[in-house]
Amino acid sequence: MKRFEIRIAGLGGQGIVMIGQVIGRAAVYDGMNVVQTQSYGAEARGSGAKSEVIISDGKIGFPFVRKCDLLVAMNQEAVDKNLRDLKPSGVLIVDDSIVKSVPKNIKHAYAMPATKIAEEAFGEKMYANMVILGAFVGITSIVSEESVEKAVADTFPRKTATLNVEAVKKGKELAASLYRLHSLDLNKL
């Protein structure tokens, strides 16, 4: 049975929940069972935000992630608070335009300055979430690129969908060559 547990964490306003939603929707398009959850403070912006996705070809009972195969951390607090839940074989992806320190003992850690890239390439840091999603698509094969692009187009309003798809593409493109912190055995995912 295939089963992946993913957690995305950061700050409210960084589009954390959107990343989870797109991954989840893409997995649905890939024919998988999915549960996606989220938690955030009552404030719409500025407090901690978390989104989780469980993808399985079987039944999913408990909907929350306890040990994750993949952790996307969009700020330092997200790294510090969530690393203890990363499986030893798990993959960490951080936005290193915000995250400044990642412990050396993490086996598979990737960094991409997603916020910086978003500002430079799209003039808005709000695209950082889709850039880092692109990195996720480049690094892993949990969901297909095709499904992710379709999921982005179906999740965002028509006006912004195109730019968001571009942001995913940009992230994927850069993921292949640049920002690897530690080694990764891709076959594991």
């Binding site: 939603q21 989840g24 929707r25 997995a27 649905v28 998988m32 069972n33 999915v34 549960v35 996606q36 959850t37 989220q38 938690s39 955030y40 403070g41 009552a42 039944k59 999913i60 009972g61 408990f62 909907p63 929350f64 306890r66």
Partner: protein, 380 residues
């Protein structure tokens, strides 16, 4: 608007599934008031209901929302509102009125952490007894509790069907976890769904509040000169408070029309209830941990079974009783302080040990591991 005629796969939130199911059940009117974690239902219907010719309205408070829903129902429309604990509090008086006037309507309560304002964004299961006893007087509630997005869809339709069939308000008791999670949902063919509509009176019928167990329901504006009141009334709807028998007859019928059909209304999911040593009675989001825990327990060789309450009220006494005959211990995991526990205790009797497993605060769910630990503790 074209109706869905194919099986479709969606990635819906529980709240979205609830709203879409309302459309599938032919809901024509929604009135609500913003409240976390139920607002997505109002937002979704505000967009979708007009597309199907229906009306979605945001009222000035929950008192107005439920009032408008009952009004719409008397105007012949299937109608719904959605709220959470604090709003559910405000609606209780009108829910009693809907019960007394035999008005079909659906009230969705997306449970959050109470009492009072509690924690708006966090999950709780503390409204179980409120759904049963929320309004004053002798009344019987119907409440359904889904544990997945797909089941939220199914039970929303069922809530409308039961409301229409028994001419009574029905509560869909969901929770923050189920309401906000997104899942892969396969929606059945619209044609394959059973949609029930209220029985309408024949042109010369006059008794809309008695004689039949569930009397026919006219709409206003149809020339029936229907008199509707929450006061004790006779079979014709005319207020009648001087004869104790009139009240007794009315209220006993209103209770009886639900309790006498409990078997038809009650739905449960059961697993291994005739062979288990330890039984579990669970509902809503908490039951998802039970699925995992039972697998883990079986892997260790334990015989565990469960009853999951899809219908909370009327309480599924028969099935729980059955479980208590085989299981020597019954665990009741709930995100409240023993609301279902006492019901199980009442039904199970003294020969079965009834064990609470409660967790409140922060919306942190009971995990499969905690559930397993409790099972092993009881098996030891």
């Amino acid at each position: 608007m074209k109706k869905r005629s194919v099986e479709n796969v969606y990635f819906w939130q529980g709240n979205e599934a609830c709203a879409e199911a309302a459309l599938a059940a032919d809901c024509r009117f929604f009135a609500g008031y913003p409240i976390t974690p139920a607002s997505e239902i109002a937002e979704h219907l505000a967009r979708r209901l007009p597309q199907t010719g229906g009306v979605a309205l945001q009222m000035e408070d929950e008192l107005a929302a439920i009032g408008a829903v009952v009004g719409a129902s008397w105007a012949g429309a299937k109608a719904m509102t959605a709220t959470s604990g604090p709003g559910f509090d405000l609606m209780q008086e009108t829910i009693g009125w809907a019960f007394m006037t035999e008005t079909p309507c659906v009230i969705v309560d997306v449970q959050r952490l109470g009492p009072s304002t509690g924690q708006a964004t966090k999950c709780g299961q503390g409204d179980v007894m409120q759904a049963r006893w929320g309004t004053h007087g002798d009344y019987v509630a119907i409440a359904l509790s889904p544990n997945s997005v797909r089941e939220t869809f199914d039970l929303t339709i069922r809530a409308f069907n039961l409301a229409e069939k028994y001419r009574t308000p029905v509560v869909l008791l969901t929770d923050e976890e189920i309401a906000h999670m997104r899942e892969r949902v396969t929606v059945p063919f619209l044609e394959s769904m059973e949609i029930i509509n209220r029985r309408k009176p024949k042109p010369n019928e006059k008794m809309f509040f008695g004689s039949d167990e569930v009397p026919p329901m006219p709409s206003v504006g149809e020339g029936f000169d229907v008199a509707v009141t929450g006061s004790t009334h006779d079979e014709y709807g005319i207020r009648f408070t001087s004869d104790p028998d009139v009240h007794k007859r009315l209220v006993e019928r209103l209770n009886g029309k639900i309790l006498d059909h409990a078997e038809e209304i009650v739905e449960t999911e059961t697993y291994n209830i005739s062979k288990c040593e330890v039984g579990i009675v669970c509902f809503g989001c908490t039951s998802r941990s039970v699925y995992d825990a039972v697998e883990l327990a079986e892997a260790k060789g334990h015989k565990v079974g469960y009853v999951r309450l899809k219908t909370m009220w009327p309480f599924p006494e028969k099935t729980v009783k059955q479980l208590s005959k085989t299981a020597s211990k019954i665990i009741i995991p709930e995100m409240n302080l023993k609301q279902v526990f006492y019901e199980v205790q009442r039904v199970a009797g003294d020969s079965t040990k009834v064990v609470p497993l409660n967790k409140i605060g922060g919306g942190v769910p009971i995990t499969p591991e905690e559930m397993l630990a409790k099972i092993e503790e009881e098996i030891r």
